[in-house]
Amino acid sequence: MNPSMSHVLGMVSTGGSSSSSAQQEYLLVGSIMDAASDSLLLRLKALCDNVEIPETFRDHEMVFILRGQNQQAMLRARRSVNPPSSSWQLRYIGQPDVSDKSRMVTVRSYHDCATSKNLPNFLDEIGFKLDYEFVAEGHMFRKGRLKITVSKLYKFSQPGLPESPLDVMTQSQLVELSVVAPSGSENVPEDMRLFAEQLKPLVIVDKLHI
């Protein structure tokens, strides 16, 4: 496996994603206790492509909800706090598609786009209200088109200030395995399952059960 090539391929696929309309996110989630997270990171470093530059992130995510009479829409705005970034990412995440019970991974419709920094303001103006917000801090790995994040979640002690002291959510870190691909990409779940198998028994990643 050529790391640099797959990196490029990954870039190409994400670059093409913006043009295609029916994108879906294939997702598996799990958690790892803080004490064992080092082992997981080491294992991921061995498995994934981007070892020489382990990507860390510290993101601030705001979830906005627009409530109508009998429906509501949810949009997520996310930006990097460290290093501070002037651009935001806007994401729409659909509800998990439960039509096919036999599927091994959660599938939900997914759209994202990079936006300018006035995103919260914009969402406020078109009627969205902030529902909740948090800070996620951790590591990001790539393996081909797979994206693996290991992140610790913090809640705000003061609203709207990602720099303010933060409270830890749990003694565990969230592990997410995701691929964003056009709908109907059949071998994606299989790839993900194979990868998930390699994380056992440290982490068992599974479908979303909300």
Binding site: N2, P3, S4, V51, E52
Partner: protein, 305 residues
């Protein structure tokens, strides 16, 4: 702690003894293989093969017994500690706090990449196997050699000059972005930026670009060569080069630089001052890009007196 130290001592002794044992064993085998040369013991009496062998075997036996003793000692020490934990040491990479493991991974990936890259580049180079002239490699060295020593002016002097000029002209902001050779970046109002390469205090090269154009290449190195993509600034670069020659005073370097900055400063209102002669802003799609060297009044290139 003390037991660990003792253990280490024992181990190193054991290693030495093993070495001794190996030497004596190989010596024995050598003797057996080569037969015994006519050698003499200390008293000058010739030695028989049997006695030599006996001696060798005795040595082996001695080392072996010593080694065995040491091993016993070491084992006893280890039993005092919990073996369970030491066993886990080899199994769990996390407890291994040395960065050996990640470094090894990194090295491996780098090596793979390096091999790929070199394979690619080899393919490329084979396709275009033009012999590079040997001179090109040597020329920078030559240029460095001819660098003028008489123009060596302390960085302190340059800094002073920059500070003075910054104070003198409000619209001009000079920053030193490279030390050797000195490269200055001059922002004139919000209109343009000039990249000035100095030799001593004399202007070696001037490049004018738009205020919002990049100073650095994509890889973060200083871009001293790409001309501005805008016609106005290409034109002004020409005029500025001319001006730098016009104001060239090797004996009064300080004055030379100041007059040039004075001239450059006149561009701060480049887009909002009409031509002195025709009263228009635009001629040939360009604003008045020429400045009188004495009065620094704006003119279009074809309107200049």
């Amino acid at each position: 702690m003390a037991t660990a130290l003792e253990n280490a001592n024992l181990l190193s002794r054991a290693i030495l003894t093993t070495q001794k044992l190996r030497i004596s064993v190989s010596k024995t085998f050598n003797h057996m293989k080569d037969g015994i040369k006519v050698s003499q013991d200390e008293h000058g009496a010739p030695k028989s093969f049997a006695s030599q062998l006996q001696e060798d075997l005795f040595l082996i036996n001695e080392s072996f017994i010593e080694l065995e003793k040491l091993t016993m000692a070491v084992r006893r020490q280890r039993e005092a500690e919990t073996i369970g934990n030491t066993g886990a040491l080899s199994m769990d990479p996390v407890t291994d706090k040395t960065p050996l493991y990640p470094k090894a991974l990194e090295t491996y990936k780098w090596a793979t990449r390096l091999r790929e890259h070199s394979a690619h580049s080899q393919a490329f180079l084979n396709n275009s196997s033009i012999k590079r002239s040997s001179g090109s490699g040597g020329s920078p060295a030559k240029r460095r050699k001819t660098a003028p020593t008489n123009l060596n002016i302390s960085t302190q002097a340059v800094d002073n000059l920059v500070m003075n000029v910054n104070r003198q002209f409000h619209d001009v902001k000079i920053t030193k972005i490279q030390l050797n050779p000195t490269v200055l970046q001059v922002y004139v109002s919000r209109t343009l930026q000039a990249i000035i390469v100095l030799r001593g205090l004399l202007i070696e090269r001037v490049l004018i670009r738009a205020h919002h154009e990049n100073t650095l290449n994509d890889d973060g190195t200083l871009d001293l060569w790409t001309a501005s993509k805008y016609e106005v600034f290409q034109k002004i670069t020409e005029h500025a080069t001319a001006a730098s020659l016009r104001y060239y005073l090797p004996t009064m370097q300080d004055l030379s630089f100041r007059s040039f900055m004075h001239w450059l400063n006149s561009f701060s209102k480049l887009f909002s001052t009409p031509c002195r002669l025709c009263g228009k802003y635009i001629k040939d799609n360009l604003p008045p890009t020429w400045r009188c060297f004495r009065t620094v009044e704006p003119y279009h290139e074809c309107c200049r007196p």
